[in-house]
Amino acid sequence: MELKDKLMSSYLAFEEHVDLDNDIHEVRNKAIKFFENTGFPTKKMEAWKYTSLNSILKEDYSIFPKKEDAIDYKDVKKYFIHDIDTYTIVFVDGIFSSHLSSTTHDKIDACLMSSALDKEKYKPIINKYFNKIVPEESMTSLNTAFASEGAYIRIPKNVAAEKPIQVLNFFTSNEAALMVQPRNLIIAEDGAQVQIIERHQSLTEHPVLTNSVTEIYVGKNADVDYYKIQNDKITSSLIDNTFIKQERDSNCSLHTFSLGGKITRNNLKFYQHGENCNSTLKGVTILEGKQHVDHNTLVHHTQPNCESHQDYKGIFSEKSVGVFNGNVLVDKVAQKTNAFQSNNNILIDDTASCNSKPQLEIFADDVKCSHGCTIGQLDDEALYYLRTRGIPEKEARALMMFAFANNVLSSVKIPEIKKRITKQIALKLGVELGFNL
């Protein structure tokens, strides 16, 4: 059975388990209809020109996983940022795992989407925020139709979350192939501050397809700092859809570290709704083997005096494919916008390839917008210089690549993440770095 048909029939089964009187159900019905009409995206669509999902849609995915699989903390400890105190929300095969998590309702809410959707007291918030900034697209609609579980994080007015919040998704071998659709909602009210780390990790070689949607609302003067760590198995694919709405004077930065996975597609959209917003989008992609990462970003400037910074670096070797499709949209009224976009790529060998499409669409005249894009290789002379100083070629290459990615790492505000990513990069490049950053 085609995956689409399977999803359609699963939806009928899904309806039996949920509260049909809930307002949300109307939203779900509308979304599934949209998906039924459009189907999965194909390469014929401009936004998917360089990424084909065909290879991952063939699998016979289970849509509803069986019960929670008991995994021990010690087995998965390495995937946690465990050296600092954090709140954690952990899902195993899409189902909340209470013994691995530490949620809270003290001052802030860091809990489950399922309870937020069901409980009466959250209703006003859900009505106000749920599915309000998600564009009607095939993958997002599919997620909306099945939206039932995920992380729900709400930071009230003028509260700074004391510790970072980790959202982890583990996948086990319970199913031969698994498709999960987490739905996250993050609300930082006016003046709130929060740091969030998100990770998807498969524990076995079973195929996994994650189609995740995250909505982030950043209130006036609020500050959201978000990290996505994507270092999954070669059998796992991720379609990540993240939408951010920013009010005036707010800050939001999002770092994406794409170090592994079969197909990883990041749809990242920032909508600025007030003056003086600042959006930062940064990413490091290091791939080898048959892996594919596609960054599709949008920053929509609708108000004056805002800034956005996009900086994506990619290193590709052995048949890996990197795609960058960045978009900056500046409305007529968004005067004095400063928008920067840069995408730099290194191709290590001829089997790797890289496609870049940095776009600017500008309707205001008093703006500073620029973009730059390069595809190249390591500078031979710099390499030679390092070698004359007694640094072996391999290390010299690693050093240079490290320096290349460093721009992006420098804006990471959690030192533990920085350390980890540094280590990961060193590991990937196959060298011991004789220094700590």
């Binding site: 005067q335 940095p358 776009q359 309707f363």
Partner: protein
Amino acid sequence: MAYTEQELEKELQNKEYEYGFYTEMDADTFPPGLNEDVVIGISKKKGEPEWMTQWRLDAYRHWLTMEEPNWANIGYEKPNYQAISYYSAPNTKPKYDSLDEVDPEMLETFKKLGISIDEQKKLAGVAMDVVMDSVSVTTTFKKTLAEKGIIFCSISEAIKEHPELVKKYIGSVVPHKDNFFAALNSAVFSDGSFCYIPKGVKCPMELSTYFRINQAGTGQFERTLVIAEDSSYVSYLEGCTAPSRDENQLHAAVVELVALDNAEIKYSTVQNWYPGDKEGKGGVFNFVTKRGLCEKNAKISWTQVETGSAVTWKYPSCILKGDNSTGEFYSIAVTNNFQQADTGTKMVHLGKNTKSTIISKGISAGKSQNSYRGLVQINKRAENARNFSQCDSLLMGNKCGAHTFPYIEAKNKSAQVEHEATTSKIGEDQIFYCNQRGIDTEKAIALIVNGFSKEVLNKLPMEFAVEAQKLLEISLEGSVG
């Protein structure tokens, strides 16, 4: 007295299209509509051989299966292809041997254009092939060229007299199934220019074609084929205008360049089709396919100044097939009022050590939309390919838009690709500085725009550069907000 904004606006509105006149001439026009009979009719009318008719029919049949592309960042009412007349020839055939015999009215037309043939004759030895409503009226300097073995004539003449060359190269760069407009052109092209430069010959003068759409309700489908044999050089100029009309006129041309080993082709265009009035009514739809093929060590350089047309859809491209070949693209696109331009280039690197340079300057004013769309593709075997792209946009007023859509694809590790783009406006301080020095606002803008486009203007042949500079000024007059 200071020049107020209102005055500027008024002047802008009153600025009529300078070339908007219509020459009354008997024209032999086909009734509107397109079917196989029309295609065969055009072919017969031109006395073409059987293979050409067949080729046209092939293209036509394929065209029927195609859909009009709509991916470009332009919005327009799709032309009704059955309401267009596909052939229109001034009725004053046969051809003339000397200028004296030419219909005086037609000569007057050229005079109004400011390109009177005799003047052009004197001017720096430019040889012209004038195409009016798709039929080549006169070819100047033919004899001088013939001495060198250069063939420069209309394509219909070439089909008759040099069928072996045409047969070999036509459709070799832009196949007749390439895209919707190229297929349409292949089926119904009425005339165009043909140019052949033999081995080792450096063409002593700039070759030039001037296009004009005269008759109402006609489409212009010209086809240009330039072949530069080994180690030859040619510089080719093309200019276009159309009278102002309320309805939209269609222009779907195909230009093919073939640069064999060590050859160099420089192709410059000044496009000034009627852009429509200030309400956005009328104007030419310009859907052009231009492509060049570079063999070993060859070089193709496209330079274009686009100031006209209601809608422009044009991507002069280079296929860098041979090793060490070079492709260049220099462009200025100016849009005003309701004009829309989606233009750029494609650089396809196939050979080793291939280089390409893209400099694109977009200037948008009024309510216009100006897009750069470019592709740089480095294929697997293209070792040491190098590309540099720069796209700058200048916005005048807050009702226009500037867009950049670069596509960059690399499959070779030794590739070096750079792309840069900026968007800005004319600074108030820049204008203030000029005002201080006694330069009025209008002149100051012209000065700044000229400076902005200098890199491209410098690439144009002398006479064209002067004209282009004037065009820039005319198109942007009073458009600062």
